[in-house]
């Protein structure tokens, strides 16, 4: 998918809640000891939800972008505070942006890259000047379920604008791939999602991510070695490493954007936050690949080229590494209180 006008990133912003739950705590309560695949996961506080985190990430992205008007705000999330009532209008109000197309997107963990793809189309066609795509989730796993080890909270926001000397990276190409695959779902009125255990791997994550990346390579004449960095969706620490290996990427290409071991799977924010970690350190001219995965199932893959503007723009960045390292550990009981796991 190419656009009429070149589209770039004018600003990005990430938000991580302060609290971390060590997975040894989950294992202590439910498994009698041990730990999860990731060391810790980020946990939203009792007064945080997808709307509050989206606003915080969006404010940071807008500070960096320095654009006064937005034409669209799309929030990609599967943990909407309201089942009916958009999160995007809350973000619009908090940013003072009212003449916008505002909507929430839902596609499990790839809702944000879907938002990026749509905003790219709106900017690239000349319909709007600037658009905001946000990935945010307060992911929840059923207490005791394996999913509980990794389900984290966080947000990442991107302001996309027509490419100019002010855009810090250009989106060179993007592809999307979907099939009807029932690897993970949540029915209406259910609090926690369900998953088909091992189905999560080969038929879901690996098939879709590999297919979208191969399509990106084929359609645009690219190969793994063309990229300085690659970022994959991170449901656990192992899958992105394995899929990178299968696609011909080396360990040093993926290590900067691999955040799951420290914060868990922030769902819609997962791969966009990995991209932000890369942009925190990338140099002009670097090529970056990002491939998301969303259950149900699909993957969006993009090729980006970092521009000279990165050095100036990221002076305003709140760095992902700083957000990860500034944290307060909590125990399982505090996590249960924060995330509403007690019935009163």
């Amino acid at each position: 998918m190419k656009t009429h006008y070149d589209v770039g990133i004018a600003g990005y912003g990430v938000y991580l809640p302060l609290y971390r739950l060590p997975t040894t705590e989950i294992a202590r309560v439910w498994k009698g000891g041990g730990a999860g695949p990731n060391k810790e996961k980020a946990v939203a506080s009792i007064d945080e939800d997808s709307s509050t985190m989206a606003v915080e990430a969006a404010r940071r992205a807008m500070d960096m972008a320095e654009v006064s008007r937005l034409g669209a705000i799309f929030v990609g999330t599967e943990s909407k505070p309201y089942a009916v009532k958009p999160t995007s209008t809350i973000v619009a109000q908090a940013l003072g942006q009212h003449f916008v197309l505002a909507s929430d997107m839902e596609f499990a963990c790839k809702a944000a890259t879907e938002a990026i793809q749509v905003i790219r189309g709106l900017v690239g066609s000349g319909m709007i000047q600037n658009g905001l795509a946000i990935g945010v989730d307060t992911a929840q796993g059923r207490p005791g379920d394996d999913l509980e080890f990794t389900t984290g909270s966080g947000a990442a926001a991107y302001v996309l604008s027509r490419s100019s000397p002010e855009t810090l990276a250009t989106v060179e190409a993007g592809v999307s791939y979907v099939t009807d695959t029932g690897d993970f779902w949540r029915r209406q009125n259910e609090k926690y999602p369900r998953h088909l255990s091992r189905f999560t791997g080969e038929p879901a994550y690996f098939h879709h991510v590999e297919t979208s990346v191969k399509q990106l390579f084929e359609a645009y004449g690219l190969k793994a070695s063309d990229f300085t960095y690659a970022v994959f969706h991170q449901p656990n620490p192992r899958f992105p490493v394995e899929v990178a290996h299968r696609l011909g990427f080396k360990a040093e290409q993926i290590k900067t954007g691999l955040l799951n071991p420290m914060i868990g799977n922030t769902y819609s924010a997962s791969s966009p936050m990995g991209l932000a970690a890369v942009l925190d350190e990338a140099k002009p001219g670097d090529r970056v690949m990002i491939a998301s995965f969303g259950s149900g199932a699909g993957s969006d893959a993009f090729a980006l080229r970092v521009t000279d503007a990165i050095e100036k723009k990221r002076k305003k960045a709140v760095k992902v590494a700083d957000l990860i390292s500034k944290n307060t550990k909590i125990d399982y009981a505090t996590y249960a209180k924060f995330r509403g796991k007690f019935t009163k």
Binding site: D47, T52, V55, E56
Partner: protein, 128 residues
């Protein structure tokens, strides 16, 4: 959302106060008449989002609807333009607070009307 809250949401979401066009004084919450010079020429103004703690207290018994947030920390913050604002301070404990600490405004849930009612958002403060 209660009607009064809905009317004031920009105040709560964005810390919108007013500035007097005659004497340049700024106020939060907004006023209709300048308390310094009596002018009625007041325009909306974004308040600075950073400031320092003037005083604070800890509530272990809160009003109904805020029980889950106990112990609740309340503070008066002097924003960078000198305006003093009352608000909650979160992501810290009373032991870690001191008068003069630098803080910044964040967007948080203030209250929700149970699991089926509306959610009220607004500003709170965290240590900068």
């Amino acid at each position: 959302m209660s009607i009064s809250y809905w009317r004031l949401k920009d105040r709560y979401y964005r810390l919108i106060g007013v500035s007097c066009e005659d004497c340049k004084s700024e106020f939060f919450p907004p006023v209709h008449v300048c308390r310094r010079c009596g002018s009625r020429k007041l325009v909306d103004r974004d308040m600075p989002r950073t400031g320092k703690i003037v005083t604070y207290t800890e509530l272990r018994e809160t009003l109904a609807g805020f029980e889950d947030q106990e112990p609740m920390l309340l503070c008066i913050v002097q924003l960078e333009n000198g305006v003093k604002v009352l608000g909650q301070i979160v992501d810290t404990t009373v032991e870690n607070l001191s008068i003069g600490d630098k803080v910044k405004a964040v967007f948080r849930k203030i209250q929700e009307h149970g699991s089926s009612g509306q959610i009220f958002y607004g500003y709170k403060f965290v240590k900068a």
